[in-house]
């Protein structure tokens, strides 16, 4: 198992390195310097600014200086908000996005797994069709459509829930969490249904039934673990998707999180901010992919012993 984690870690390092390098040069290759927009900048002020942001150095020296900063966890100053560092901005948004993502993931897992398992127990009956049709709607209803529709219905017509903000008014966390989590609940439902159907058709499920186990025990003890491995493996990609989804959801609901900052930085051409956020989010995504792969492998005894460097 340790060897497995190590090999995946070794694979993650070049990925993060590629991300840093590609992002850095992409951003630098962008047409138009960051201060071109400000018309009234005096040449000497501009030169001072460029020196402050190290734009006067040759490109490769800028790159190595940036790598050196990164090694110390320093993402540099923001172009747009002088005086604030990218680190500060990121860490002010991180808790909000993390909380939103956590609720969304919770919704996705609880609703998705329940619906998927439920559907798999009686395939091709109403108990299967109804949750799976809902899941299909979830997949075909993107967050940027679902969000406004939910706001329209629950916020504006029914006036049950607040339509924007985060943590200011009670209940304002409900709509954003649902908006972000719905599509993933749908994916999880489909994945867990397929996974459970696969496992429930295995010979060892018949063995368990032949032993006289009650059906709930057959499902919970013998089928669930294997059936949910695909769901665990999906959590990594789902995390990346949730982050991207937070761009939209935080914009719709005006939530001061990482996603909104990123989109704003993109529009403001705040290059250090874009660079810093990309590197940070990418590292998070790579880390989560790693974690979900490891978790999925850990659930499989054969893989677990194979990579433990043990006897077999």
């Amino acid at each position: 198992m340790l060897r497995f984690i190590l090999s995946r870690l070794l694979q993650a390092i070049p990925v993060i390195f590629i991300v840093i390098t590609a992002t850095f040069f992409l951003v630098r290759a962008a047409p138009g310097g960051p201060f071109d927009a400000e018309k009234v900048v005096l040449p000497e002020v501009k030169r001072a600014l460029e020196a402050q942001y190290r734009l006067d150095l040759p490109l490769h020296e800028q790159y190595f200086a940036y790598l050196a900063d990164l090694a110390q966890g320093e993402l540099g100053p923001s172009f747009k908000y002088p005086g604030r560092s990218v680190n500060e901005i990121l860490f002010s948004g991180l808790p909000v996005t993390a909380e939103l993502g956590f609720y969304a993931l919770l919704i996705a897992l609880v609703i998705g797994v329940t619906a998927g398992v439920f559907a798999s127990l009686k395939p091709n009956t109403r108990q299967d069709y109804i949750p799976m049709s809902l899941a299909m709607i979830g997949i075909c209803m993107p967050s940027f459509l679902l969000g406004p529709l939910l706001v329209l219905v629950f916020g504006i017509y029914l006036e049950w829930l607040p339509i924007s903000g985060w943590g200011a008014i009670p209940g304002d966390k409900i709509l954003p969490s649902i908006t972000l989590g719905a599509a993933y609940a749908a994916y999880v439902a489909r994945l867990s249904r397929a996974g459970m159907l696969e496992i429930l058709s295995q010979d060892y499920i018949r063995t368990a039934r032949a032993k006289g186990l009650p059906e709930w025990l057959v499902v919970v003890k013998h089928a669930l673990r294997g059936g949910l491995i695909p769901v665990i493996a999906f959590l990594g990609p789902a995390f990346a998707g949730l982050l991207a989804g937070s761009f939209v959801v935080e914009t719709i609901f005006q939530i001061p999180g990482l996603g909104r900052f990123y989109v704003q930085a993109a529009f403001n051409r705040d290059y250090t901010m874009i660079l810093g956020t990309t590197v940070f989010l990418s590292s998070l995504i790579v880390l989560f992919n790693l974690l979900s792969d490891v978790a999925a492998a850990w659930l499989n005894p054969r893989l677990r012993s194979q990579f433990s460097g043990g006897s077999r």
């Binding site: 694979q11 993650a12 070049p14 990925v15 590629i18 991300v19 590609a22 992002t23 992409l26 951003v27 290759a29 962008a30 047409p31 299909m136 997949i139 075909c140 209803m141 993107p142 940027f144 459509l145 969000g147 406004p148 529709l149 706001v151 329209l152 504006i156 397929a194 696969e198 695909p230 990346a240 998707g241 982050l243 991207a244 761009f247 939209v248 914009t251 719709i252 990123y262 989109v263 993109a266 529009f267 051409r269 874009i274 990309t278 989010l281 990418s282 995504i285 790579v286 992919n289």
Partner: protein, 300 residues
């Protein structure tokens, strides 16, 4: 080189034989029994025909405005209403659909071309070539592409061509993995070994024995890639990073609609309906094809 295809030879022997049902025919029969998939297919064909003929079918010109009218709810003149500039919503949706569908199909075609070629080579050659090629795919796979596309669009401006390429570049990875695992498992099939023992050349083996059998999963996955590509385009356009005016797409229309939904909900609902209907159709068709072609859960 002599061709091995013998299907065009017909005479008594074949004429007197019972007709066999190929797996394709069987699959077609199964697909036809799946009502949702058939409905999806019909809707899709309908939308594509409308998209192709939009300049002739659209009730109004794309640029036509009626500032005096402004935003109006659905009526006899404007079946789906008008937007704040008095533009006909139905016309906007039809032109937007051209772009959305084009992005979906073209980007998927890019992914298909790169992915299938890459996967087929890796799978058939095997060994070190395979290891290197698939390791590259693994590394690219781990890249957070959504963020990268946003970055690309920010840096290089909102260029439709770039959008095709960027989306195609993300989606080919899965295609390559599926194709490789197909080719690899087919290579170990006894009927391919039998073809090798017969002395068939590798090219003939790929053409006659591998590709026809790998086609099913590729068709299914292609059908399911189109909606995810369309979603991606709509997502970017919603954020203002995709399609730019004067062009329009469903994502962009939804984004405008969301801004004014309080007063003019039809501006959100109809473009949303167009997008979800298309996504539904593609997903149902894809699921139906998966069942009909008996493709097991796609790997990875």
């Amino acid at each position: 080189m002599t061709t091995l295809d013998s299907t065009h030879v017909t005479d008594d022997l074949l004429a007197n034989a019972e007709e066999g049902a190929s797996l394709w025919q069987d699959a077609w029969q199964r697909l036809r029994k799946n009502r949702m998939a058939v409905a999806g297919g019909i809707v899709l064909v309908l939308f594509m025909v409308v998209a192709l003929l939009t300049p002739w079918l659209a009730p109004y010109a794309y640029e036509a405005q009626n500032l005096d009218l402004g935003a109006s709810p659905p009526s006899g003149d404007h079946w789906l209403g008008t937007d704040v500039f008095g533009r006909d919503v139905l016309t906007q949706i039809m032109y937007g659909g051209r772009v959305s569908l084009a992005v979906g199909f073209i980007a998927t075609a890019v992914a298909l071309l790169i992915g299938v070629t890459w996967g087929a080579i890796a799978g058939y050659v095997g060994g070190r070539v395979d290891a290197v090629m698939m390791r590259m795919v693994d590394i690219l796979y781990a890249l957070p592409f959504m963020i990268f596309i946003v970055l690309l669009m920010v840096v290089f401006g909102r260029n439709v061509l770039l959008l095709f390429l960027a989306i195609g570049a993300v989606e080919w990875l899965t295609m390559a993995r599926i194709m490789r695992s197909q080719v690899q498992s087919l290579r170990q099939q006894e009927f391919v070994e039998a073809a090798i023992s017969l002395g068939l050349s590798p090219a003939a083996i790929i053409r006659r024995h591998v590709i026809p059998n790998a086609l099913g999963p590729i068709i299914v996955y292609t059908t399911l890639t189109i909606p995810s590509v369309m979603l991606l385009e709509a997502f970017l356009s919603f954020l203002g990073l995709g399609i730019q005016p004067p062009q329009t797409s469903w994502g962009l229309l939804i984004s405008y609609g969301a801004e004014t939904m309080e007063e003019y909900p039809w501006l959100l609902i109809f473009p949303g309906l167009a997008l979800t209907t298309t996504l539904f159709s593609l997903n149902f068709l894809g699921d139906g094809l998966r069942d009909a072609l008996d493709v097991r859960g796609s790997k990875d």
